[in-house]
Symmetry: D2
Subunit: 148 residues, 4 copies
């Protein structure tokens, strides 16, 4: 993919605001660790409240983190008044998400006028080793910011 | 679809246990409201911690509840030692999940020896009116229970 | 779902034209058998050129017919200058598509200003018996007709 | 991803046989151009019979070629008696598939005992330039060969 150029000088603050305003991400303890045009990486630490019946990260938690990073990766390329909504996504759970930290790494694969498509790789860190645990393909729509 | 016959006399308790052991569902405040062979309905009440940036249920929360009901619907048809893992799912977010209660209604559409496919309709209740807000299609795999 | 109202008096001819202009559907020998606002059913007869390695309808053929009926179901609700493009779809192959005739039955589940979501059930007819063989969930976008 | 080791000395012939026995691929004029453990690339030349209403490759044709290469990529890693069936796939149509040749490049992203997951990038070649036109994420199941 070609490198992406942001269209809004304030893209970093705007995207971090989108992330910060999502209560569900605070509930996960999620934090952005990397942010560049067309890309967003975020992490969440494990705790039992984020688990499924075997003590791994719940597929829904994995989806929540992945969905959020995809939305933020898409929004890095929007104009100043652009907000983002997920249209749909599909996730394959490749391996048990067994570890201390969940990592979602989202990249824009198509940036259109109306729709953006992201590919999100999800990893789990365990004892210093990072392994892939899920793969998401996501479609997003640009909407006017409610504040604009 | 033909009506489904459970293969395990203790299916109700086994499936409720699968639900109860998922920390992420307790975090959502989720509860099963209907359970029959090949079907599971669950609800979660809104609170800001479950929201996205516009104050609606987060797509990840919607996915978590839907994924969990699909898993439980699938597990109703398993034998006594059967546990369930999601292989993958795809969700379309049809409308903002704006309301007091999220409702996920999962039905088995194919029950195979190894794989089960579910269709899950997700609704939101607002001021006494129920509206569709998402639709999920999910693939699950039967695995031996860790307790067996 | 509420019944749908077409916005274009010429919707039937417009949608049948969309179907007729698709070379890939002629190659399948596909025909529309039912068309109503928000719904389209089409069929294709088996021949070995449509098969996979076991002599059943190829998953790609199943997808082609399902995708086309979803597009036509969506287009029934567009205005006179509206054409349709698939944004994405996801299909579960529930059972071998072993039979004489493939049948795809598409229904609109959300009709938005920009995006439409369809659910498509695919069946196979064999010796007079109809069985489900696949299930598709599809997102479409309305575009201006190239003729307009 | 780690490099993949085939488990069957005759994997190349076995996989090319799977491809060759699919009538639908002959109908597309599809050919394998690269085959290595965990990867398969195939192409199909445009002709109007493979088109949709705007004269581009039909989404169903794109799906058929992508699905087939994913199946073959998965099958490169199976034992001598292993055959492959698609469980489900999801495809995003990123751009009009407008060109002379469609190219699908499939890679295994998870090779499990029962299930394999592939990621397939689809390109279109036009006037000597290759552009991405679709992205597929696919789940496959290993089944015993009908000949075994």
């Amino acid at each position: 993919m070609a490198p992406f150029e942001p269209r809004d000088a304030g893209w970093q603050r705007r995207v971090r605001d989108i992330f910060a305003r999502q209560g569900a991400l605070a509930l996960l303890g999620a934090k952005i660790t990397e942010l560049e045009p067309g890309r967003c990486v975020a992490v969440a630490p494990f705790r039992p409240e984020l688990g499924q019946q075997h003590g791994y990260f719940h597929a829904g938690v994995t989806s929540t983190l992945a969905d959020a990073t995809g939305g933020c990766a898409a929004a890095t390329l929007f104009g100043a008044d652009g907000d983002v909504l997920a249209v749909e996504f599909k996730i394959n759970l490749l391996a048990p998400a067994h570890g201390e930290t969940l990592v979602a790494d989202a990249r824009v694969v198509r940036s259109g006028r109306t729709l953006t498509v992201c590919s999100i790789e999800i990893f789990v860190d365990r004892d210093g080793k990072r392994s892939p645990c899920a793969l998401m393909q996501q479609t997003l729509i640009r909407v006017a910011s409610s504040a604009s």
